[in-house]
Amino acid sequence: MSGPAKQVKQLDRVIIRFAGDSGDGMQLTGDRFTQETAAFGNDLVTLPNFPAEIRAPQGTLPGVSSFQVHFADHDILTAGDAPDVLVAMNPAALRANLGDLHKGATIIVDTHDFTARNLTKAGYQDNPLEGDSLDAYAVHTVDLTGMTVEAVKDYGLSRKDASRAKNMFALGLLSWMYGRPTDPTTTFLEKRFAKVPDIRDANIAAFKAGWNFGETTEAFAVQYEIKPATLPPGTYRNITGNLALAYGLVAGSVQSGLPLFLGTYPITPASDILHELSKHKSFGVTTFQAEDEIAGVGAAIGASYAGHLGVTSTSGPGVALKSEAIGLAVMTELPLVVVDVQRGGPSTGLPTKTEQADLLQAMFGRNGEAPVPVVAPQSPGDCFAAAVEAARIAVTYRTPVLLLSDGYLANGSEPWRVPTIDELPVIDPAFATEKNHGSGDDAEFWPYLRDEATLARPWAIPGTPGLEHRIGGLEKGDGHGNISYDPANHDFMVRTRQAKVDRIAETIPPVEVDDPSGEAKVLVIGWGSTYGPIGAGVRRVRKAGYKVAQAHLRHLNPFPSNLGEVLKGYDKVLVPEMNLGQLSLLLRAKYLVDAVGYNHVRGLPLKATELAHAIGELVGQAEGIDIELGVWGEPTQKEHI
């Protein structure tokens, strides 16, 4: 589909936000645009944002659903602070998102829904399309709905059904503007609506009409070109965090030879992990949708005891319910992966919004001294490797492991270089098959006689003759594992369980510091999904001519062995987090370092520009100079290296 000569402008990156009512199909539209963009070869990061209500009241501000995609001809780290383009399907979508736009941004509005009633619902006194309130923006008013209905009139749909295809018209228009390949979407629509030919044809027609409208109308004079990014060699696919995490669990199962057993209960934003794993029974995966969170983890512990890789997936409220059972897994020293896709809290909190405020719950949210290793992915694609690592630690050390993803990682996506199988670790379950204490007729199996290197206890699964034994939540005697109330034994066992977790540090890589000059006085350190915004903030500060170091933690418990040394090497340590300072607390407690927090709990990822200012301020203090970030402190400024 190429048309009459239009001006083509080169851009190195664009941030587009599709916004509409939660029934308008904005998530699908964003996802399709993302897939086209991935197929084209741009680097990209996405940020879906939707209400917890399935269908919030139509046309209202709480009902607005949006999908932001940032794509570029170079390696990028975040979904972007401020959109360059807003597609607003109704007045509420315009009003809810306008504040995030920078001056000069492009707004494409579907005028069809700008009725008096909808304007009132959105809280507008006057129609913003008629006054001068939008003068700072390049506004394109288009009757997307009207043109869609016209374009699909041959398919015999009701007006309501016909107008539903307006999201595909918008997708077609944006696909033309940014030269996206159209085949992936056409193929997708053919498959998705294969059983309803009229809907299928109408959607394809609307999509094509949108493209053609861009090509022929004079309203859009410019087409933009963003060249493919040069990423490291390899095979890439676009992937969301939840999908990557599910694949990582399957990989952990294959690499350990242990069938995967997921015991779980539906909860936002973790349910997609259950949905995905339930499709992979051919890998020997069993998915058990339990009656509640507790039964989910209970069944996973039972499956682990029986020799499977037991996994439970949930969000913060579910972890709270599972706490006692996780303690049981600590005491019985059974492998267990607990996936916590964090969301806004406390209590029910913000189910569809992101946060990373479960770190201390993961660390300490159990009765007694109950150390649990904690692993966190840093990007959607990284959820794969983090899940494999969680499985490795759980199986090797016979311990529950908390895998802390979050809502941003879960639903966000990025191009992911698909690893080859030989890049993955081989995990040895090393089941016990022989008695391990005494000899001859007196030989016995001692379930708590530990491996000297790892301090892991032997894992003897039912069905193994001669190794019958009992485990449970009561304190166990060292070695033989019988119930013991002996004070000295309890003290020893508490310390031994802690020592076992501490010893994991011997098999994890040292934390790497990105400090190109080697002269930075400020270290920015984070964990989890803040990796992207921190990296982008650091780039801005460096572009402005200042020195700053960055490190990011995959392992939160235990910390990498060199972390104390690294922290001591800097005058100031900044810890940006989407909580009120949980990693800061841990670093301060363990290393006596004067960590400075940068904390936001808005249910949204941190903004790179704001972070750049916070970093800059600390660099200024450390170096005793005034910091001027210039254009690098502006959200509109591109930040690539």
Binding site: A38, A39, G41, T230, P233, G234, T235, Y236, R237, N238, I239, Y247, V250, A251, V254, G257, P259, F261, G263, H280, K281, S282, F283, V285, T286, F288, A290, E291, D292, I294, A295, G298, A299, A300, I301, G302, A303, S304, Y305, A306, G307, G310, E324, A325, T332, F384, T420, P462, G463, T464, G466, L467, E468, H469, R470, I471, G472, G473, N482, I483
Partner: protein
């Protein structure tokens, strides 16, 4: 691999609960003994506790199951009775309060070759773990749940339990408890359990016969065991245990037999029948107790544990006293066939695996590469 079902249920196509569990080979490995199933741990229940009798009965019964000892798993929750697994030399887990059915569900679903048993009490199963119990029953996971009901909290020293009679004066209810109690059998039938029975700790013969039927049943078997707590609720079951009163207190349920109880007729046409009988109560739709001599023999309810409809079993379960126990039906209330959750779950996995025809490691790796490298990909050189 297969073992003969201990009880012929007379139902077409019913698989035994232990069918896929490897048998003990007595010829090669010698006969199993109760001693072999006894662990070296000192039993620490109070003197006179009903749990001792149940433990002895189970230890003596397990050799009759004829299964390999290493393929038997006992899981328990918290409470006096939940110490049970420590005293058996099988695989076992003493878990956390109320959660044993969920842990056992994981074990039973993961492994078809294990005989899975849950030991629980009235507080563990019906209070803190009530949810897991009813869901295990409706799913029909292949396991046997032994519910020790002493109608009191023992381990926490004497608070009323969810089966205590209303008005019970305990440490936590000095003016009498206010809650209406659960009837575990009614609850299980309401949850559409496929095997529901009730027995008594001190009746070794009946207890053993119920255990055998429960183990042979494929699906979740719930066995309520009346168990005396000599410390905090002594005498709770005296009426059904005392030789003077038990004939009038126990309503014996035997599949295919008319339900009568009370002093037996020693001669005449009703010889062997009890003085009291159950007939249908047209007014309530339930059952009622009448003098056997007052009704036609044909009107006496004949117990049908295999009826697909649980209505009659439920009606009989309502004859249990909710206050002090003066009357209680004892026996197998219900025993019907329904696909088990774990068999069906394994079948789905097996069908998917065979459709993908990859079950050796090399294949799995290739298939994993296919999975993660699937979808729309692009290559950068």
């Amino acid at each position: 691999m297969s073992t003969t079902p201990l009880t012929d249920l007379g139902l077409p196509g019913l698989r035994s609960g232990t069918e896929l569990v490897p048998s003990h080979d007595s010829e090669a490995d010698g006969a199993q003994t109760a001693k072999e199933f006894t662990s070296d741990q000192e039993v620490r229940w109070c003197p006179g506790c009903g749990d001792y009798a149940v433990l002895k009965a189970v230890q003596s019964f397990l050799p009759d199951l004829g299964l390999r000892r290493e393929n038997i798993v006992f899981v328990s929750g918290i409470g006096c009775s939940s110490r049970f697994p420590y005293y058996l030399d099988t695989y076992g887990m003493h878990s956390i309060h109320g959660r044993a059915p969920s842990i056992a569900t994981g074990i039973a679903t993961a492994r078809e070759d294990l005989s899975v048993w849950v030991v629980t009490g009235d507080g563990d199963a019906l209070s803190i773990g009530g949810n897991h119990l009813i869901h295990a029953l409706r799913r029909n996971v292949n396991m046997t749940i032994l519910l020790f009901n002493n109608r009191i909290y023992g381990l926490t020293k004497g608070q009323y339990s969810p089966t205590s009679e209303t008005g019970k004066v305990t440490k936590s209810t000095p003016m009498g408890s206010l809650d209406h109690p659960f009837n575990p059998v009614s609850l299980a039938l309401g949850a559409e359990a496929t095997f529901v029975a009730r027995t008594i700790d001190s009746d070794r013969k009946h207890l053993t016969s119920v255990l055998a039927a429960a183990a042979a049943h494929r699906g979740t078997s719930l066995v309520e065991i009346y168990q005396n707590c000599p410390i905090f609720n002594d005498g709770a079951f005296d009426a059904i245990k005392s030789p003077e009163t038990k004939a009038d207190a126990i309503i014996p349920l035997v599949h295919g037999e008319p339900v009568t109880f009370g002093a037996q007729f020693e001669d005449g046409p009703l010889v062997g029948k009890g003085s009291k009988a159950l007939i249908r109560d047209q007014a309530t739709g339930g059952v009622k107790v009448v003098a056997t001599t007052d009704v036609d023999a044909a009107d006496i309810v004949v117990h049908d544990a295999h009826s697909p409809d649980p209505t009659m079993a439920f009606a009989i379960s309502r004859l249990t006293d909710s206050g002090y126990l003066n009357t209680s039906p004892i026996g197998i209330f219900r025993q019907v066939e329904r696909t088990t959750y774990d068999d069906a779950a394994r079948e789905q996995v097996a069908a998917s695996r065979s459709a993908a025809s990859g079950d050796d490691t090399a294949d799995q790796s290739a298939r994993l590469a296919g999975l993660i490298g699937g979808g729309d990909t692009w290559t950068i050189l």
